[in-house]
Symmetry: C2
Subunit: 311 residues, 2 copies
């Protein structure tokens, strides 16, 4: 099974309490693609400028990501984002955003990308997400991300896109904003009423929750004493989630639970170093070791209580 | 195995967005005792005034809680607390506190209470907690609670008490305040260095985490769409935790994991109605049904990933 992702490819300048980088490879399609590449074959759809160099292409190549649909605008510059995190690593402070070639991004999907059974619509303009989805009517499973900016400026368009996907993967603040419900349980129900059969709500250091029509599954975050750089953690989660799902073929409750765990596993690696550094250098056995650690930290024996003392 | 709890017995006046009560039975020893009584035999140590009536005693009696060590000061009044919760049910706004007979509370333990193998020191003056612990030197397992007020006003005394217990059960804000560590993982490590072999950190709607020298276990909160009244949830958690632990006798990693879940099960019932109403009326089968629900919402199959596609 193959997996297509549509989203940004970028350069990031990052500053955290633990260090600083002036230019690292970033973007949603990049973080998602690297993460998913450990599980399945990935096609990336995006756009870059002439400043996108051999070093950057090599990262995609190392992970056998198909970059045929990453358009190159030779006289343009790649999307650039500059951000800072303080000790509260949950909030990114944007210092500079230069959309550059991304401003007029119009995703063009080759037949190969369109043939993928799984599709992830990373955070881009909701109308573009919907357009891509319509180009792939026979896809087995489509998931999307979005962000607060689109929800506040064009909520109707966001909802129109939500209607045509199988799954949405967003954070708790976005779920509340979208539905105007303080409870994430009610928020998830409202989103499912719009169409999706699965809603994944990411809760940062508290982990992530999967809501489906007949179930509810919670996975905690991996206990990292220090989060080094959270940029791309959400996309890396989505990459592990969709990548594992594509590798399994069947989309059922048991598989979806494990997709949540593999998503959390991949996100926990991403934040250990700057940009793509950690996931780029990841080994397979590390993934299964950490998956095992998630099992250890959540497992308990299903032994009902039997009272020895009578009242 | 029997379990002794030392703490407040009170009347509460409560106001939440869902209703109001002028006088309900409350207090840490009450919530703890009711919860633990489903699992083991409980001795409650506390003090009440002459206003404590038949209706209140009947609640303890219904749950076979030994109240011999609840002192009655006939010409005094029972501890009274008045609080309000807004939609953010995580924060209680105290409107009135009348310590009354609790102000000069000096726990007196009968031989029967002292003989218990398990002891819970609910939130009272840290020097009193330590005094009780010293009266029970042979106890198998001692856990304690504390609160922000004692940590800020007499941290040294709190630490002296922590040194002589096996386990501390506190919320995340208290753990951070006590250790001056923003990360709860480092906070838990620092607390273990003070003495306890187990640290339980309660995280409200995000569940609870158990730290031990060689392990880490996370349990989510039960997904309640509406929390009706959170008063006593922490003590009800501790009651389920210590009650189940006492019922099992052995204190090992496998049992401690289930104590975390039974604690969470009991707390999830407590918040469904005002005061002790819900737990007082609880049936055994409801406990095991909800325990099962916790298993369902956290279980995933431990299947390592094997890559079908090669890079």
């Amino acid at each position: 099974m193959s997996l297509t992702v549509v989203g940004s490819v970028a350069f990031d300048a990052l500053e955290t309490p633990f260090g600083k980088r002036d230019r690292v490879l970033g973007g949603a399609a990049t973080h998602f693609g690297l993460s998913a590449s450990f599980f399945t074959q990935v096609n990336a759809v995006g756009v870059v400028g002439g400043d996108f160099g051999d070093e950057e292409w090599a990262v995609f190549k190392r992970h056998a990501i198909n970059t045929d649909d990453i358009e190159i605008v030779a006289d343009g510059k790649t999307f650039f984002w500059q951000g800072r995190y303080d000790y509260d690593m949950n909030t990114a402070h944007t210092l500079d955003t230069q959309l550059n070639v991304f401003e007029t991004f119009d995703p063009k999907l080759s037949d190969n990308s369109k043939k993928a059974e799984f599709l992830f619509l990373a955070n881009i303009l909701p109308m573009l997400q919907k357009g891509v989805r319509e180009q792939m009517p026979d896809t087995k499973f489509v998931a999307m991300d979005t962000m607060n900016f689109w929800i506040s400026s064009m909520k109707d368009a966001v909802v129109e896109t939500i209607k045509v996907v199988d799954c949405i993967i967003i954070n708790d603040a976005e779920a509340r904003q979208l539905t105007e419900e303080p409870s994430i349980h009610r928020a998830a129900k409202k989103i499912m009423e719009m169409g999706p059969k699965a809603v994944v709500i990411k809760r940062g250091e508290y982990g992530a929750t999967l809501f489906t029509k007949d179930g509810y599954f919670v996975v905690p975050a991996y206990p990292l004493e220090s989060v080094f750089d959270p940029t791309g953690a959400g996309d890396t989660f989505a990459g592990g989630f969709m990548g594992y799902l594509a590798s399994q073929g069947a989309v059922d409750d048991e598989v979806l639970r494990r997709t949540m765990v593999y998503g959390s596993v991949m996100a926990s690696f991403n934040v250990e170093k700057f940009g793509t550094e950690r996931v780029d250098a990841l080994e397979y056995n590390e993934i299964n070791e950490r998956f095992k650690a998630f099992k250890t930290m959540t497992h308990f024996d299903d032994i009902p209580f039997e009272r020895a003392v009578t009242a």
